[in-house]
């Protein structure tokens, strides 16, 4: 059971990474980041069976931080959208050297 759970976690994480790397839409990248966080949460929960409740405590922390991150991240995306009228990251390159 543990192996399946970890495998699923790895698959979800990889999907998240690939999404972050390949997609252009900021909202979708954001969702992929959430996917990666939750894949890690799944690993924590699965491994807490072996190593005790500390993993589950961490999951609570992660979800709290993810919630805060979602609030700040979405606010930034809204601000950017108001400014440049797009959420396509290819068009947002103000940091170009």
């Amino acid at each position: 059971m543990l192996v399946e759970a970890l495998a699923l976690s790895a698959v979800l994480f990889s999907i998240g990474v690939i999404g972050v790397l390949t997609r252009r839409n900021a909202i979708i990248i954001f969702m992929c980041v959430e996917l990666m966080l939750n894949a890690v949460n799944l690993s924590f929960v699965a491994l807490s069976k072996l190593y005790g409740a500390a993993g589950q405590v961490f999951v609570v922390f992660t979800m709290t931080v993810a919630a805060a991150e979602a609030a700040v991240g979405l606010a930034i995306i809204i601000a950017i959208f108001r400014h440049v009228k797009t959420v396509n990251l290819q068009n947002i390159n103000l940091l170009k050297g």
Partner: protein
């Protein structure tokens, strides 16, 4: 003679006024500080910001322009309104302090001299003021050395210096830089006394450099004209070459003798092998220093240019005192030179050659000060012949008499230029006030100057009983006496036996005596005799200088006439005490002198000596006669109408083209190498191009590379992050 043997307090002079010897240099230093302060205060007050100073400022500018076209004197009468120009606001107090400190110093010097006459001067009197440089094995004190030699020099410097200071009060009276002038002059005397009284070579060197600085400042005193500033720089730079020699000589002394104290160096030098490489190198490097300071070949080129300074400066620094420092140094280092006969022969030969070259150039100069400048170079050569053959007293004797008659000649020429300049100002004439072709017949306008300058001319020409006769004759006799039975005769220079060298030097000495009589008579004839060549407008304004200028001339005239009596030769024992200076200087240079003549005083048969003196007199009279017979002052035309000279006179008038030669050989290559390699190549190419701009370019290139990494695409950053994470994880897991 080791000064360490006798403690300061035990010296017989310690109980006399001589213990205040430190006041001698201090007095002119005080004068410098006061006059220098006044000069700065005066300069600060006369500014455009101060409306009340407007009047004075306007006059100051007028003066600056006088300097720009005048050759020296900033004479009065430049103003159309015929009001006398206002003197400098501090002129009164400066005129009091400038010559005043010199008078005080001269008084003290005379007192010291009288005290010295009263005691046995077997050992020099050394007064230590304070510890100067205790560095490792080198212990240098600031000590003053008072012995007969430095006493003689102090008397000349303060005495002649005082007279020239007084003369300057008249000569410089309307100059806007009046306090600055006296500040420099006082500073010069301070350094000159340091040079003369220094008890160690480094302290002497401090004075040596200091007088060089003052010389530079005073040659370029009217620096608003570029030629004057350039002359100052030339003097300074040429002197640096000589100073290099002096420094190397001091290094050699410290390396081989372990001391720089003048007395100890002399004592230890005697222990070195006689005529060895070390002692010869030491003497020759010292002499290189002397050729710079005393304008001997090949470093003689600066002195004629130094005439750009005010004429009293030429009299004091470039005739009577500073340029004779080299002669003094050879006499002071007699303990070294007498151990190196090859160096001695070099000194005598260079002196003789310089005397001859300068005298021939003097034959064809038209500028009255240039004639005197070359005459000075020539007479300095004479002095080096004297000290070179080990006749230190004869050299110093000629130094003293030369200080009298050459200071008189220079001040007399200053008086002439002053009168010419004043006359030209009345008519706004811009002719050369120093060119003899513009003068002529001045004897009826300035009789006092005329008679006094003839006295000096007779003295320098060597007419019997005038001062120059005694000293010049003693030098020639000393050379002749050493042709046989001396260390010099047994030595050789460049393969020529020493006795032959000495005979040649003696022959050149006679020839120079003839030339001296000719060019000096020529100068007098063209300046004072014949018809007057100034214009109708100037003639009524030619007058004798004020008493403040003629007074010092009279005193110097008396000294130039009778100065020879301080050292009457045995031959003329009937007219006065024999060998006064000889006896006086004996404790200092006697030992070294005897070493050259193999322990016995030089002796020439009575008849031979009579013959030599007779020949010298005949030559002097012949020279004057040739000049009077051949030269026709009446045929001379003013400078602007004179045709260009040709042939050998052109070569002489252009000083054998030595300046041009040096320019082509040293100055132009230095300039072009500096321009092409050092400036364009190294400074602009390597320093500016490679280092400064190159490092900027490098930083910019790295910056550009870094900026290319910043695409602004979040995707790129994410990829980089991922690759980094994988790399790190891989590195940790695969390790």
């Amino acid at each position: 003679m080791n000064p360490a043997l006798i403690p300061e307090g035990a010296h017989p002079l310690a109980a006399t006024v001589a213990r205040f010897v430190w006041l001698l240099p201090l007095l002119p230093l005080l004068g410098f500080l006061i006059n220098g302060t006044l000069a700065m205060l005066g300069a600060a007050k006369v500014g455009p910001a101060d409306p009340s100073a407007d009047h004075g400022h306007g006059h100051g500018d007028a003066h600056a322009q006088d300097d720009a076209h005048g050759h020296g004197v900033n004479g009065h009468g430049a103003h159309d309104d015929h009001h006398p120009p206002p003197r400098h606001k501090f002129a009164g107090i400066v005129s009091l302090i400038g010559p005043g400190v010199l008078l005080a110093a001269f008084g003290l010097a005379v007192a010291c001299f009288l005290a010295m006459r009263g005691v046995e001067m077997e050992h020099p009197y050394v007064v230590t003021l304070f510890q100067w440089m205790p560095v490792g094995d080198l212990h240098l004190d600031a000590s003053l050395l008072l012995d007969p030699l430095s006493m003689t020099m102090v008397l000349v410097v303060t005495g002649v210096g005082m007279l020239i200071h007084v003369f300057s009060v008249g000569y410089m009276q309307d100059d806007p830089g009046y306090p600055r002038y006296f500040a420099y002059l006082n500073l010069f005397v301070f350094f000159m006394l340091t040079l003369v009284l220094g008890a160690s070579y480094p302290l002497l060197f401090v004075g040596w450099e200091g007088v060089g600085l003052c010389s530079y400042l005073l040659i370029g005193f009217w620096f608003s004209e570029k030629a004057n500033a350039d002359a100052g720089k030339k003097a300074f730079i040429v002197n640096r070459i000589g100073d290099f020699g002096f420094l190397v000589a001091m290094f050699l002394m410290f390396a081989n003798l372990g001391t720089l104290d003048i007395g100890r160096v002399a004592a230890k030098a005697a222990e070195l092998p006689f005529g060895g490489v070390v002692i010869t190198a030491m003497a020759l490097f010292l002499f290189l220093g002397c050729t710079g300071k005393s304008a001997q070949i090949p470093l003689h080129v600066w002195l004629p240019d130094a005439m750009a300074g005010p004429t009293p400066v030429s009299a004091l620094i470039h005739a009577a005192t500073m340029v004779t420092a080299g002669v003094y140094l050879v006499a002071r280092a007699s303990g070294i030179f007498s151990m190196a006969p090859v160096a001695q022969l070099t000194v005598a030969s260079v002196g003789a050659l310089t005397a001859l070259v300068a005298a021939t150039i003097g034959l064809k100069q038209w500028d009255i000060k240039k004639v005197l400048a070359y005459s000075t170079v020539s007479q300095l050569g004479y002095m080096f012949v004297g000290v070179g053959v080990g006749a230190y007293t004869a050299g110093i004797f000629h130094l003293v008499t030369h200080a009298f008659f050459k200071a008189l000649l220079f001040l007399g020429s200053g008086s002439v230029i002053f009168a010419m300049h004043a006359a030209y100002h009345h008519t706004h004439n811009h002719d050369d006030a120093q060119d003899m072709r513009n003068m002529g017949g001045l004897k009826q306008y300035m009789p006092i100057t005329f008679y006094l300058m003839w006295i000096a001319t007779l003295a320098i020409a060597g007419i019997p009983l005038f001062s120059g006769f005694f000293s010049k004759d003693e030098i020639l006799a000393s050379v002749f006496a050493r042709v046989s039975h001396s260390t010099l005769a047994e030595s050789s220079l460049l393969g020529i036996p020493g006795s032959t060298v000495l005979l040649i030097v003696y022959g050149i000495g006679l020839a120079v005596a003839l030339l001296t009589a000719i060019y000096m008579t020529r100068m007098m004839l063209y300046t004072f005799h014949g018809p007057n060549r100034t214009g109708e407008g100037e003639r009524p304004h030619l007058t004798e200088a004020p008493w403040v200028m003629t007074g010092p001339l009279v005193v110097l005239g008396v000294l130039a006439a009778i100065g020879g009596w301080i050292n009457v030769p045995e031959l003329l024992g009937a007219i006065g005490p024999v060998g006064g200076l000889e006896h006086f200087l004996e404790p200092v240079v006697g030992q070294a002198s005897l070493r050259t003549t193999l322990g016995a005083p030089p002796h020439v048969a009575h008849q031979t000596e009579l013959l030599l003196v007779g020949a010298a007199i005949a030559i002097a009279i012949t020279g004057i006669a040739i000049a009077v017979w051949r030269l026709k002052p009446a045929a001379l035309v003013p400078k602007k109408e004179a045709p260009a000279s040709t042939g050998i006179s052109r070569v002489l008038e252009n000083k054998y083209f030595v300046d041009e030669g040096y320019d082509a050989a040293f100055v132009q290559p230095t300039v072009s190498v500096s321009r092409a390699v050092l400036w364009k190549g190294f400074d602009a190419g390597i320093i500016d191009g490679l280092f400064v701009n190159g490092s900027a370019l490098l930083a910019r290139a790295f910056g550009w590379l870094g900026s290319q990494l910043q695409t602004g695409q979040v995707g790129t950053y994410a990829w980089v992050l991922l690759i980094g994470v994988i790399t790190l994880l891989g590195a940790f897991t695969l390790r």
